[in-house]
Symmetry: C2
């Protein structure tokens, strides 16, 4: 064998190594989007108040302040829960979501949207990443804080998902959640949204007339609230709570109470909470798919979230968004191009709060 | 540079290539379990009638025949649907599951187990792999064939999951499924199972006495029926239908109607239907996890199914089982070591039927 073929072989091998290396490290991986200096790299609690904020020019400063005040309060309450001696990521998730459920400004708890029949049917779920325990409730109508009921299903029952009357009876029998008259959930804004949606539906039915896609920002208000947290023991948790879709049919359940669709937590991967077009999130098992890509493809949470959302065929009315957090405190917030904004924020280990509604920090 | 270091470099590079190759092809991959000559390698329809068959010595031949007759009939009806000119994998899944729902011998449709309150609350879901469309119903009490209702949710509504009364009203309004008096679902065997379970619960409550784990085979009867199919267009579909768990609490929902937990289909990966301890299947998003490992780790369906089930912490009362099928017709049936048997069968493209209850073909 002469020197030349041996050198050729050497180069071929080096090329092969590079190729294999390239393929196994997720090929043409784009660099992570640069984060501005003001944006913290690590967080202990990340929350959302739903994708589907009105377009930026339709949301006055006074309104923005109202949303941000609730987000900030939720982050503070969640952070306080984490600071307690035995505070867990589950405590933080419940504390943060409860603030948002009680606020009346998001589509969860007080402030939930109305069904076609003018009722409020609420869904929620929670999961922790160490033992992958989970709990969820769907279609409940008289529990003030569905997220508490979800936690009770996880911790006090052998079940994971309970629906309707059975879920209510179970949670109320344990006295872990306050019972309210369903009228508690009535808010003028949501009622008007339903009337608008019903009118639109009627028009479409009677005249066969199609309304423009972006007829009214509120039509696409997905709402939903969610939180992902990391505690001092390195355990992750995720939770989501929602009133669903305005004008949804009686009995319709979206992704929020579905473990693997709207919520997932696994210490081996990450914690995820979703908001948006629930049906699409269920069909693509979005929350679990993000965790699977982090675990099997060894992607960062930011890249896994982007890959999953960008891989779903376009939804003209907006798909929605996701928040995710891993055990290193690396986090991601992402929503699709047809979604105008997502109410969201995070808090770092040393208590620094950041809040966003649109692409820029504001 | 002398010849020796260059050779050394060459060997190092070869070693590196081998190592990378080894790591990226799933490392110390065990060989697929050898299949006996009589077992077909390819199938177009695979079905199950539930994990949790009684121990082999407790199931007389006459009983086995009864189960197998239904399995065979389900395979034939599903196959017939596939043979029709425009027959799809969805048609095959519905046809096969309907036979099992109507048989009275499996825990789905007629033959469903009873809740703690002595009612039947049925769940079902269906999904197709081309567009990943899906439909599901949970907690329905007066629909003869829940799998038909699930298909109607997928095809005739904008929703994926509908529950309880809302799901029933929707399906009945379309006249796609027969309405029955809930008494239709009453069977003597299931009623006796509930009485036994209630008695056991009462004993445990009153005496603080723990009964032996394998107290009665029927206690662990998971039942559930499911099917995965592949049609001439290369499209996959999966479906699952169940009565849930004997003595389950009113409102409890297991994995069967949960897309990603009990059912999943994606032409990029495989079609999956699960049976067993529903709560565990939800928490581990079993159906989607199998699809994710086929897609991201490039495992065979057999290996993905085994990896997922074997990776779940042991359930003393038995975890359950899974059937899966890919676009090449490669299939898998797997159940955990604490499960005595799983009613199951498959049919090949040329109509050859194979049936099993325990490990050996019989």
């Amino acid at each position: 064998m002469t020197r030349v073929p041996k050198l050729l072989l050497l180069f071929l091998l080096i090329g092969l190594c590079l190729l294999i290396g390239f393929l196994t490290t997720d090929g043409c991986k784009a660099p992570e989007p640069p984060q501005k200096a003001a944006v913290p790299e690590k967080a202990v609690l990340v929350i959302h108040g739903g994708a589907g904020a009105p377009p930026a020019n339709e949301l006055p400063q006074a309104e923005r302040k109202k949303y941000k005040k609730v987000l900030e309060d939720a982050l503070r309450q969640g952070y306080k829960a984490l600071q307690k001696e035995k505070g867990t990521s589950l405590d933080a998730v419940v504390a943060a979501i409860e603030v948002m459920e009680n606020s009346g400004v998001f589509n969860a708890g007080k402030g939930a949207v109305f069904t076609h029949e003018g009722r409020n049917e609420l869904d929620a779920s929670i999961m922790e990443g160490k033992h992958k325990m989970a709990g969820a409730v769907a279609g409940v109508t008289r529990l003030k804080n569905p997220i508490r009921a979800a936690r009770a299903v996880m911790e006090k029952s052998p079940h994971v998902l309970m629906i309707g009357d059975g879920a209510e009876r179970f949670a109320l029998s344990l006295k872990v959640v306050e019972e309210v008259n369903p009228v508690y959930f009535w808010t003028e804004e949501r009622w008007k949204e339903l009337q608008k949606a019903l009118k639109k539906e009627e028009m479409q039915k009677n005249q066969g007339k199609r309304l423009p896609r972006k007829a009214g920002a509120t039509d696409r208000h997905f709402g939903t609230v969610g939180a992902v947290a990391l505690d001092n023991n390195g355990n992750l948790a995720a939770g989501t709570s929602t009133g669903g879709l305005t004008n949804k049919r009686h009995g319709r359940v979206g992704d929020s109470p579905i473990i693997g669709a709207g919520t997932y937590a696994d210490n081996q991967a990450c914690a995820v909470s979703c908001t948006g077009h629930g049906e699409t999130f269920i069909r693509h098992a979005v929350a679990h798919d993000i965790a699977a890509r982090v675990q099997y493809k060894r992607l960062s949470v930011a890249r896994a979230v982007a890959e999953v959302l960008d891989g779903i065929p376009e939804e003209k009315d907006g798909l929605g968004g996701v928040i995710a957090l891993d055990r290193q405190g690396s986090w991601a917030m992402h929503y699709d191009q047809h979604t105008d904004g997502m109410f969201r924020g995070c808090i770092t280990k040393d208590g620094k709060i950041s809040l966003w509604i649109y692409q820029d920090k504001e």
